[in-house]
């Protein structure tokens, strides 16, 4: 009788151990989270990134956007100025689009005619404007991270970036570590 009880206890302990390891595995599994590395600064690609982000956020997926390189144009505020820039930084600042409303199309740009036509069509067909999309994104808690390195490289300063409630500055490792723990990742 005593022996039987011991065997049962051992079996139970073993079962608890397996369950523990299974729970640990579940806890370490990927989060319902979508980090997107946005490198392109074209109007069409920024629209695509925002549409996907909003759809994901509407499904309660945590969305984290990493704006880097040419995409920095989309997070510039044209009404803000930064002082103390060198000549190359000033040149970059002048030549690149000054806000999300000044972006070019990757195709059919036609010296600005293309973006005008797209914006007209978006309005006509009930597609949210980029301003509205950023507003919805803020309301849904979509996070925007600006890549510190590419901002520095292109001579942009924090003072000239948009006002956004969930804005932060970080590096590539932040994207990589968040991508690693997420169920989806995108690069645009």
């Amino acid at each position: 009788m005593q022996n039987d009880g011991n065997i049962q206890l051992v079996a139970l302990q073993q079962e608890v151990e397996t369950l523990k390891s299974k729970v640990a595995l579940l806890e370490n599994s990927r989060k319902d989270q979508l980090p997107i590395a946005i490198v392109s600064g074209d109007l069409d690609k920024i629209i695509a990134a925002m549409v996907i982000s909003l759809a994901a956020a509407a499904m309660d997926t945590k969305v984290r956007l990493f704006f880097s390189f040419w995409a920095l144009s989309a997070v510039r505020d044209r009404n803000k100025k930064a002082n103390g820039k060198d000549i190359i930084s000033k040149m970059f600042g002048m030549m690149l689009p000054k806000s999300r409303n000044n972006l070019n199309l990757s195709k059919m740009n036609m010296a600005g005619m293309g973006p005008m036509m797209i914006k007209y069509l978006m309005k006509k067909k009930g597609v949210l404007s980029l301003d509205r999309m950023f507003g919805e994104a803020a309301a849904l808690g979509i996070e925007i991270t600006i890549c510190e390195m590419s901002m520095d490289l292109m001579g942009f300063k924090k003072e000239e970036m948009i006002d956004y409630p969930h804005l932060r500055y970080a590096g590539a490792a932040t994207f990589v570590s968040e991508a690693n723990e997420s169920s989806m990742q995108l690069f645009i």
Binding site: V51, L54, A55, D60, V127
Partner: protein, 83 residues
């Protein structure tokens, strides 16, 4: 649900998203779902064809029950039950 059942179903909330394209209807649905009770039925009106396919996916992800869609003149009614 069958088409007849959908026509006669009691709706707790109507979301008119006909003026907006993808992902507008989804965002409207997400905002509205918080205002109804569990077990309530919500209908989403949309002129965007994609919504008919997107809402079932949204329901599946959020754990709500997709009930079906009715085709009206120039738009769709998509029905779902909050779980």
């Amino acid at each position: 649900m069958t088409q007849e059942e959908l026509i006669n179903v009691k709706v707790a909330k109507t979301v008119d998203a006909r003026g907006t394209a993808c992902p507008g209807p989804l965002l409207e649905a997400k905002k509205a779902i918080g205002t109804i009770k569990v077990g309530d039925i919500m209908e989403i009106l949309s002129a965007d064809e994609g919504t008919k396919v997107d809402i079932p996916k949204w329901c599946q992800k959020q754990g709500h029950e997709y009930l079906g869609a009715l085709e009206e003149k120039g738009y769709f009614k998509v029905f779902m039950k909050k779980k």
